[in-house]
Symmetry: C5
Subunit: 254 residues, 5 copies
């Protein structure tokens, strides 16, 4: 589990609910109809705006957000350079057993195509389609979280307006105005909280995780192309190192 | 009918009108002049900003939004691979009868061009123009729904300002201030509801439906190109599979 | 005249001024200094931000907005296919008289270059420069209308702040507060009305008209290229048909 | 001096200060600490966000904004066509004296490279780098003026919040509330004025001036390439005319 | 240290805290729970939205923001031209000692590849990957500062809503309303200050520093390519000069 993301959520909740508790207590901040308007309304907007199959996977994406980074670019570079060394020494067919033991689906597919003797252009084209489509699918899912903030903010404002109108029509008892207005404001508060806790930052981290995955796939693609054309493993390593920040560039040949 | 979209709308309406009913009742939230300003004003802005032929089709687009996804990428892949197998075995002319029975206009056009012996570049160029123009037409229509929110929000604000000015000029009777302000706020409420129920989320789902259609057309385009150049059906299937998420990739050759 | 655009403007004005009239009458909504601040201030911002020669043509652009769509893509396709048929039958020089009778400047220029035997690349390059520059000039003009909303909204807010400060300094007479605040709000009202009636929607329709013109020019460009290279008129028609929505594709060869 | 820009500024100032003067007089709108917060704070934000060497030239850019358009595309076209005619008649070396008398640095550089017999690709590459870098430098400077509005608006809001808090803590004397709130609002007023007078519109006109300069350079670049390859001056003129709006296209050969 | 950036921060702080001190004193503006909500909440949002390894380096980036510009394009051009002269006179191997003494890692890597006789395409490809990845890493870091403003503004608004609700529920004692509202507004004030002091402008200057670094790398890349292909040093200088503003172009050959 990615501690940062989880600790971040805990921190926000402790601070916000803590500050409520210290003030007038958490009780007055809970109003079931308001919760239903904002949560339900946001859900409704998402159901109108996205396909059910995307929304069903929404909780999975929260899981992706809190999973620690699985992408290991230096490790992938080492692996690609090792494959390259082996292919150069023993021929590309020597990689057949490695293909079968490979976990990464993308690398397995690309490498097996190379071992099977497909044209470089065909391999590159297939892997690039895979990358583009994966990134575009992820982008579609990330958009859910980007929209959450807009929808919840709008539902919060609609709820507040509904409450304000009701309050303005019942101003006979001045002592009721304050509490009525307090309740009206709750939906705006819920909307802002949902958007900034469950929406925006999640979209952000998912987008970073997608970029990481795409970079790993780019490294694999470059590696397979170099293996197939029989490039020098040192040259390949130099090139792949350029994907890393200068400080992390440690050659295995030194 | 796409249950998700329709259920979403029902959910929003039940929640919002329900919360009004529970409070002061739905009656006070209905003000015909306010409805006319926001609905009429938004319609007016759309009439200035778009061509009549686009607006006339606006209700059709709501229909598209609630239609379930018709695009079946795995099915399209299977079909393209079958055509490819047949063309490879019996020659491309063997596809002539399939062309005549094909429902998908885009596939029919492309395949008949291939069967008629057109140059690959000519086929690709024509199909790509079709895709670009279709996507650009859809984009123009989607923009209507994107603008709805902006226009209705602005009309809501204008209505509220008109009401506020009237209220401020008539503050002799303090007991009338509340109700007058309540009415003034109604246009803002209507504007926010129109924008977030009939505007934004609809633009979003229409954009997703367009992306789906474009992906299907891309698969068809790649398939026709491969059929014409006589590629191996297995190679074609591998390539087209890259358009699917890994879990949905099921080869018909296994 | 494009009825849609004009009816849209009339509709908005009838609704807004009607709702004022029904309430406290139109009179209280008219305040000459406020009108001057918002109209004059917006004009001032436009004068700072654009070249005089652009602003002088601003009223012409309102004319373009209300002119009905002049672009007739199906007609243009028919014409290009006819030229193509004639050029193929009688040679490209047979189009010389058509060039002289042609009204469309863009088509005339391109076709005369083809008849004069210019290189295809030279023709394409010249026509593409013309398209890019025209579209970029239009874009510059459209930006005026996009900015109108921003400038008028800002001027409205500035006017309201000026009025609010004045009101806050003169709160001795409570009965004067309401009317003073009403007047202060008028500039915000004017700003929102200008932006959403004379700004945003106009920018939108002008942008649609530009897209239409560019599509016509693209069809002409493709047509001229095909005529010069002696393509089959049926092939040309197929290709140009791809610019139309499927329902409007009616071949003249059937 | 570009009258439009200057008149625009004068118009805005006359209207805004006039409307203050007519109301409660200009005096109450001037509050030195508020001026310092907004002007100083905006300056501070600019100093954090930009390099000193950019800010030092900021006043020069105001000068560029009010300078009349120096770019004369028709004149530049005439000049390029004349050079082309001369080069075709007497050889490109005949342009040597023209190079020395040329004022435009960009044209001088490009033409002298052509006269010196550099490769066309080298000339194009150098001139394109010059154009890109110039445009990118200008873009960096324009960003200063785009940010001015954001920074001054934020500083205005911060100032108002500081003032509101102070006011809310001192509500013992009700008669002081109005004036205190008036002063608090002044920073918001200043922020909006700075952003919409010294920021946004200036960024806009500078961006237009940059586009004009880039178009002139593009015409020069196309001209030099044509001169070097010995193109027909009439063909060159036709091509360069495509940069002009149709009405301004007047050939010197007719 | 870059005086401009530091002076800018000092200026803002002096002005804002000074204006507080002059008014009701700094004390009333300090509220520890409010500070915690905004600072802590913003930190929480950043922890959810970014990877820990990015956030850990956040303070380093503030260091980059205040470091004076290290990039010296004219000096880099001089160096590249000198290398070019030497390579042309004594052969590219003569640069071997220069490579070893070179501080700039990017130049060192590229030049050593050239000296080692790598293919020009391989060198260009590697250096371009390095540039793209560096710029994309920087962009990811800059996004932290862009998001700070959004997150802190949202947390400020949430804090104010929490405070407002508490205040509205406790309106029995009218004299407590003012101070309670004052405290509620503090979080909005903090949010705006954080965003506009520690967020936006920092993102801006970091982005400028990245552009400068990329321009230097581009000059180095062009230089190495020219050195390897044995171009004339004067031609190289002319080309690299095009990266500078006209006034700074001073040839070392004159």
């Amino acid at each position: 589990m990615d501690l940062g993301t989880v600790v971040g959520w805990v921190l926000i909740c402790v601070l916000l609910f803590g500050s409520m508790a210290i003030g007038v207590g958490i009780g007055p901040y809970i109003d079931i109809p308001s919760v239903m308007i904002v949560f339900g309304g946001t859900t409704g907007c998402l159901m109108v705006g996205f396909k059910m199959e995307q929304l069903k996977k929404m909780f999975t994406f929260y899981g992706v957000a809190i999973k620690p980074t699985m992408v290991d670019i230096p490790g992938t570079i080492t692996k690609m350079v090792n494959y390259s060394t082996k292919a150069r020494r023993d021929g590309i067919l020597a990689l057949e057993s490695d293909v079968n033991n490979e976990d990464n689906e993308f690398l397995k597919k690309g490498l097996s195509m190379a071992v099977d003797g497909n044209e470089p252009d065909a391999i590159r084209s297939l892997l690039e389609i895979d990358m583009e489509q994966t990134s575009s699918r992820h982008g579609g899912n990330i958009k859910i979280f980007e929209q959450v903030g807009g929808f919840s903010g709008a539902m919060g404002m609609i709820g507040t307006l509904i409450g304000l109108v009701a309050m303005l029509l019942n101003m006979a008892d001045p002592s009721a105005i304050g509490p009525a207005m307090a309740v009206a404001l709750l939906t705006t508060l819920y909307g802002a909280m949902i958007g900034n806790i469950l929406g925006g930052p999640v979209a952000n981290i998912l987008s970073i995780r997608n970029d990481d995955e795409m970079m790993e796939k780019q490294v694999i693609l470059e590696g397979i192309m170099a293996i197939q054309s029989g490039d020098n493993p040192r040259t390949l390593e130099s090139k792949l190192m350029a994907y890393l920040p200068p400080k992390e560039r440690k050659s295995q040949f030194e």
